[in-house]
Structure formats: C-alpha cells, structure tokens
C-alpha cells in the first residue's frame, strides 16, 4: 500500500501540473479570460453606430484597421470590485459596446494588485491591437515611473481618453479645532502631523512639501479605514478625492481645508461642499500644481496601438458621453463626466510627468528605501 502511494503521488502531481498549465495557457491565448462578463442592461450593440468613426486615418497601414474590432474588447480594472474605477468601468462598458462597430462585447475584468499597477502592466505588455484596455490614473503611473518602483515605461502607454477629472481635498476632523490650512501649518511647528493614508501617493508627498507641513505616514487598509481614523481622532490630516470625503464633510465630521486641483462648477456634485475653500495653487502660489496632482481617470491601451484603432475607440468613448442615458446614470451615482479625447488625454499624462519630474528626488526619497 505504501509503495502504491509513493508511486501514485508524483504521477498525480505531474498530471495535475500539465493539465492546469495547458488550461491556463489556452485561456490566456484568447487575449482575455471570458469568465467575467457584464450583462448589457440597456440597448444591445447596434451595428449601425454612426459616431463610431473612421476606419483608417493617417500614419498606420490600412491593414491594421481592417474590420476592427473583430473580437471582444477587454476593459481591465486594476482594482478590486466596488471602488470608483470599477464603478466607472462597469457603468461605461455597456455604452462602449453600443458605440463600437461590429457588435462586439466589452468585458470588464478586475486585476487588482500593487496599488493599481498590476492591471496596467498587463495591458502595457499586451498586443497593441486594441483588444485590451485599462482604466487608471496618471498620478499612480507617473509616481511609479519617477520613483523607479517598477521597470515599466508607463509614459509610453497609448491614452484613449479621459473619463473624468476630480480634485482631491485636504481634510481634517471637524472637532480638531483647525479651520484653515494656516492653523495646520502653525500646529505643525510642534512636530510632524499624523497623516492617514491608504498607501502613499504623489499627491500627499508633493502637496505637503509645497505647503511646508512635515508629516508621518500612518498606512491603512484602504481609504475607508484611513478616513475613519481621522473621524476617530487617531490621526490628524489626510488627502482624498472629493467623492470620497464629500459625505463626511456634509455630515459635519470633516472640515475641508485645501482643494487640490480645479473645484467643480457650481451646481455639480460636491461644489457646495467645498465652496469657499482655497485651492492649492492659490495657497502655495504655484500655478498648475493642483492639476498635476488631482485625480484624472483615463483609459489606456498598449504602446504602439495603431492610430486608426485609437480613433475608433476614442469615437466610441465620445459617443458614450453624448448618450443622455449614460449621463443620467452618472449623475445619479454622483459622478461628474469630464470627457477629453485621446490627444488631450495623452497631453495630460505628459503634463503630469513633467510637473512631477521636478519633485523626483523627493518622491524617490519617500517611496524607496
């Protein structure tokens, strides 16, 4: 009995190994798993999508775009389900399906890891044929690039467009007694403040350096926990996107001190919450610093994606933002549309890189050991 056991085990291992590797290899050859799908809740994909745009334009050879798209397109969300990026992706996916030609599906997949880098790295390495894209933000990519935490040249990604831009807000607990950023700067003279983060990002490092406030990082398991610690009074100050802190400010638990980026126009969600709060540019006197640090959500594809493919995708995104139903959904979810086309999106990525390049030493010092 023991002999048979001993002999069976290696065979079992080898068979299992071979089988699963074959399975995995076959699955990834498709250029994307189809175990996750979105069910289109609205109109089915129409073959006659008028705004889906030109099939060929300038530089790329005619062959590159023949009949694109011919298979399903995968939209990678480099974060866990339920977050802001995930929600944006799942909300826009059915509309991209509608406005892309040939009735292909847009399949949303979560590939979380390394603070959003794993999913984008995978898209970076995928074939530049326009069948894989990711939703991400320039800040995260540029920070990693400058600090050298990964080897991937994220600045070479093809940007398909921007979905929205939202400012970040520096907030403190309402019962901290601090009303303005000057109060905080004064208090910081006694020693570094405790900053609650869900990880460390460029916005924390650069904005606080510009404000001249020393801080110690208390890392949490996500933004929710970080904000709870502020409300509890265990930490002093934090920076988070407007959409994350809005509810808590309205409820009177948090006080906004500085807006990093451009405040929403009057009437848009969140505008009244930060009415009267100065912007980072105003407080520090550095023009454009805010817009390099605020949160842009962009769609990207692999480097070297043919320009005709980019045009088709760009057109589909633009058409989605022209769809009244989509805009209503966004409004109900409290999300502000902020569409910018592929060229503008590319410019945003480049601007973020050049703006943060000046802080390269600071970023490297803080982010690497």
């Amino acid at each position: 009995m023991h002999r048979t056991t001993a002999r069976k085990l290696p065979t079992v291992l080898i068979l299992l190994l071979v089988f699963t590797l074959v399975l995995a290899a076959c699955a990834s050859d498709d250029g994307g798993e189809t175990t996750t799908t979105t069910a289109a809740a609205t109109t089915t994909a129409a073959a006659t999508a008028t705004t889906a745009g030109e099939t060929t334009t300038t530089a790329g050879p005619v062959d590159d775009c023949d009949g694109y798209p011919t298979q399903d397109v995968v939209l990678v969300v480099p974060y866990n389900p339920g977050g802001g990026f995930d929600t944006w992706a799942r909300t826009i996916a059915p509309y991209l399906e509608t406005y892309l030609p040939n009735g292909v599906n847009v399949i949303v997949e979560n590939r979380a890891g390394a603070g959003g880098l794993v999913g984008v790295t995978e898209v970076f390495g995928s074939d530049p044929e326009g069948y894989t894209m990711a939703i991400t933000e320039p800040g995260v990519l540029v920070t990693s690039l400058i600090a050298g935490t990964t080897d991937t040249a994220f600045d070479e990604l093809t940007v398909l467009g921007q979905l929205t831009v939202a400012p970040e807000v520096i907030v403190v607990a309402a019962d901290s007694g601090w009303e303005t950023i000057e109060d905080v700067q004064a208090a910081a003279a006694d020693g570094p403040l405790l900053m609650a983060t869900g990880g460390v990002a460029a916005v924390n490092i650069v904005s606080f350096d510009a404000l001249g406030i020393p801080w110690t990082n208390v890392v949490h398991e996500g933004s929710g926990e970080a904000m709870l610690s502020i409300i509890r009074g265990d930490t002093d100050i934090t920076v988070f996107p407007l959409s994350s802190v809005e509810e808590n400010v309205t409820a009177g638990d948090m006080t906004p001190l500085v807006v990093v980026g451009t405040p929403p126009a009057a009437g848009q969600p969140g505008a009244d919450v930060i009415a009267g709060v100065p912007t980072l540019d105003e407080v520090t006197g550095i023009e454009g610093l805010g817009s390099a640090l605020e949160q842009h959500r962009i769609l990207v594809a692999a480097p070297g994606t043919p320009s005709c493919v980019v045009d088709i995708l760009d057109g589909a995104i633009e058409a989605s933002f022209g769809d009244a139903e989509f805009l209503t959904l966004l409004n109900e979810a409290g999300r502000i549309p902020g569409w910018a086309d592929a060229a503008s999106g590319q410019a945003i990525l480049e601007n973020t890189l050049s703006a943060l390049q000046q802080y390269a030493d600071l970023l490297r010092e803080q982010l690497t050991d």
Binding site: A41, G83, T368
Partner: protein, 503 residues
Amino acid sequence: MIDGLAGAFTDLMTWPSPLYLMLGVVLGLVVGILPGIGGGGAMALLIPFTFGMSPAHGIAFLMAVGASSGIGGQITSILVSIPGDPPNAATVIDGYAMTKQGKAAEALGAATWGSMFGAVFGMALFLIVLPLARNLVLAFSYPDFFMIAVAGLVVISSLTGGKVHKGLAAAGVGLLVSFVGLDPVSGNPRFAFGTLYLWDGIPLVPALVGLFAGSEMLALFSVRGSQSLAETDPDAPVSRMIDGLYSTLRAWKTVIVSSFIGFFAGLVPGISGTLAAFVAYGQAKRMSKNPDQFGHGAVEGVIAPETANDADKGGGLLPTLAFGIPGGVIMAVLLSGLILHGVPAGPNLLRGDLHIVYVLVVAALLPRFVAGGIVLAVGTRATVLTRMRGDVLAPIITVIALIGVYALRNEPIDVLLALVFSYVGYGMEAHGFSRLTFIIAMVLGSLIESSYHQTLQTFGLRGFVTRPIALILLFVTVATLAGPPILKRIRRRRLVEVGGDRK
C-alpha cells in the same frame, strides 16, 4: 421598528421582488459552490444588471447573491473540503471530517441552521445597537484590532494540544508567509523578489484551496484509492439534515456566543468573516465538553464558524451605513450598488429615512432562509457525491478547484501556488502540523503587524493598556493562555489532598 421591518418585508414580497430574490439566491448558491469567485466579486459583476431595476429590487437582488454565496460555500467546504471563501476554512476541518465519517448530511444541516440563526442574531444585534452605531464604530481603534487579532492567534494555542512546538512552527511559518508583500509602515515591497505579483503578498485563496482541498484530494486519490469518500459503517443510522437541526439546538450556547463573536468581528476591517470563524471555532472548542473531538468531526466545529461568519454581516453593516465606509468586499459592492441607485449611503443615511435600512436587513435575512431551505431540501441528494469512488471524484474536484483559483485573478501563478500548497498541506497532515494553525497565522499576520505599528505611531505603547476594549481582550487572552495550566495545578493539588486524606 417592527412596523419598519414589516413594511420592508411587504415591499420585498410584492411582485416582482420575489422573482429577483429567487434569481439572486440561485446565482449566489452557484457562485458560492464554485471555488475562487466569491460573493463580493459576483455582486460587482451583477451591478450593471440591476440598472433597470428600482433601488429596492436591485439591492434585494444583490443582497440575495451575497447572502446565498456564503451558504453555497458551506456545501463544498463540508462535502469536498474546498473552502468556498476564506471564512469557510474553519468549517472544512470538522465538516469534512464528518463527511468522511458518513455524517455529511448532519454537518450540512448544522451549518445551514447555524448560518440562519447567526444571521438572525447578527441582524437583531445590528438593529438593537443601531442608535449607537456611530459611537460603536468609533470605539474600535488600532489597539482593539490588535487585541482581537491576538485573541485569534491564541486560538492556535488551544489547537496544538500537547505538541506545542509543532503548533508554534506552523504558526511561525504562517506568519512568515503573511509578511510577504508591502511593508505596512513604509509601503515598500518585502520578499517580493522583484515581481509585481507578490506586492500584495501570497494570495490567500490559492493557499487555502491548496492547503485544504488540494491535500485532501491527494489523500483521497492516493490513500483511499477506489474506496468512497465516506467510510460508513453500514449498520450505523443514516445521518440526516434534521440531525443537524437537533445538534444546532443542543449547541445553543455555542450559537449565541459565536453570534456575538461574529457581530463584533464584523467591525474589524477586511478580514471580519474569517476572523469571526476562527475565533468562534476556538471559543467553541474551549467551551465544549469534548474538546478532543474538535478536528475529528465535532459538529460544534461546524456550527461555530458558520454561525459567526453570518453574524458578522450584522456587524459589518454598521460602519457601512453609519459612515459610508464599507467593512469588507461585499459591503463595498453593496455601497456602490446603493449609490448607483441614488441611495445616499453615508453618514446621513441613519439620520434620515430608515426605510432603506429595514429593506437591507430583511434583504439580508430573507435570501438566507430561502437558500437554507433549498439546501435543506436538496442537500441530501448532494451527499451522494460522498459515495462515489474516491479516485474518480478526486481529479474532478481538483480540476474544478484549480479552475476556480485561476478565475480569481486570471493568474497562472496562483494555480501553481495552489499546487505547491497541496503538497505542503499533505505533508503537514502526515506529520501532525495543524493546517488550521498555519492559515490562522497567515490571515492574521498582516493585521497584527499593521495594527501594532499603527498603535505605536498614534498612541504609543500605552495604547495597549489604556483603552477599555483592548484591556478586556488582553485580560481574556491572558486568562485563556494562563487559565488551563493554572486550573490543572489547582486540580492536581486537590487530588493530592484528597488522596492524602484517604491514606
């Protein structure tokens, strides 16, 4: 409050809500049975599907999926030792042991009834403390999380029995594995060997599936051979689902204690369900009249974790609704579902119309009863699996398990990890190292480390002894560790005295 609940109930019972509820239950059960993708992931996938529904229907549907996935996970944990989700890990130990003894139906029944009782108690506690929700959530801070995690580690001590060094070794390696990934203080990668994939550490589900399911399948295939999974004595009475109900009723103290543990564990960020299951398991063993049975098919070892990991949903709703800050993946998805339907889930929710809160509570309970009913009705059929030939069953289950592991992150490395852990698990069992100890340490390692450093950064060392909750837990932990040896000494002295008198 009763009016509110009744109103919500009638809301959810008006057509077409029951249809969505049933659909959600069926989907949730299927998702729970398939290893890898959990309730939270499935809920996220289904959110766009709910765009066309009214808020109440959409939320009911999503909650139904989330609630039933837990019950689906129990089925595979007990019958084939595949934990559907990390919270099911503790159930696998005694559940699968009971299956091997031919008592699968009883285990399944006990787990289902335990889940239902736990869910009811959890929601009842939630409603009772609702007015104090804010204060309760704010009362828990880093030292308290640390102490809760340490209490969980103390469970290990009660599981090692006489072989302390083996238990410590397993725990130590578990902690070591948990330290792979980003350093919680500086955010720099540790033991990542330069790859992005290890930045978040060794993923829990592949390790879990490999350690428990994979190793059991290896054992089934190589040791049992053509025998079936269950070794039943043909003369013994056939176990039934109703036996599970009797067992659960008999273990009423365990049910209540596990519900409380689950509810409070729900307030701990991230790992609430898993933590709840382990701590409840350990507590049940300490409270049990036959603790040696644990690990070898004690039905309380199935009831305790399943009750706790359903009660934790009640606790998890508190930060979600009081602050709009989710206490876990299921809550996070629920929150975005709520927001997408225009329900302002945030600090203002509890101050305004409580109707949606009642809908949530009823929507959390109703599907569990339906799912539980389905399992109780047809579960006995599923136990026929356990009478199939082991060497046919094992490869089938292994493949399904590995596919589920792959589906989690679309990562071939995960599958490799699961295979490696299968062999590790097999070896551990063969040499008497507790896999449960290893997993507990692996799950709790990062929470212990991060909450320890967070405490030092904010409160300093005094933080551990100046906060009431942390102090109570510290006392309980010390008592648990020091209690049994001291009691033994007292008993021995008494025996000596008595013996001396007799002489």
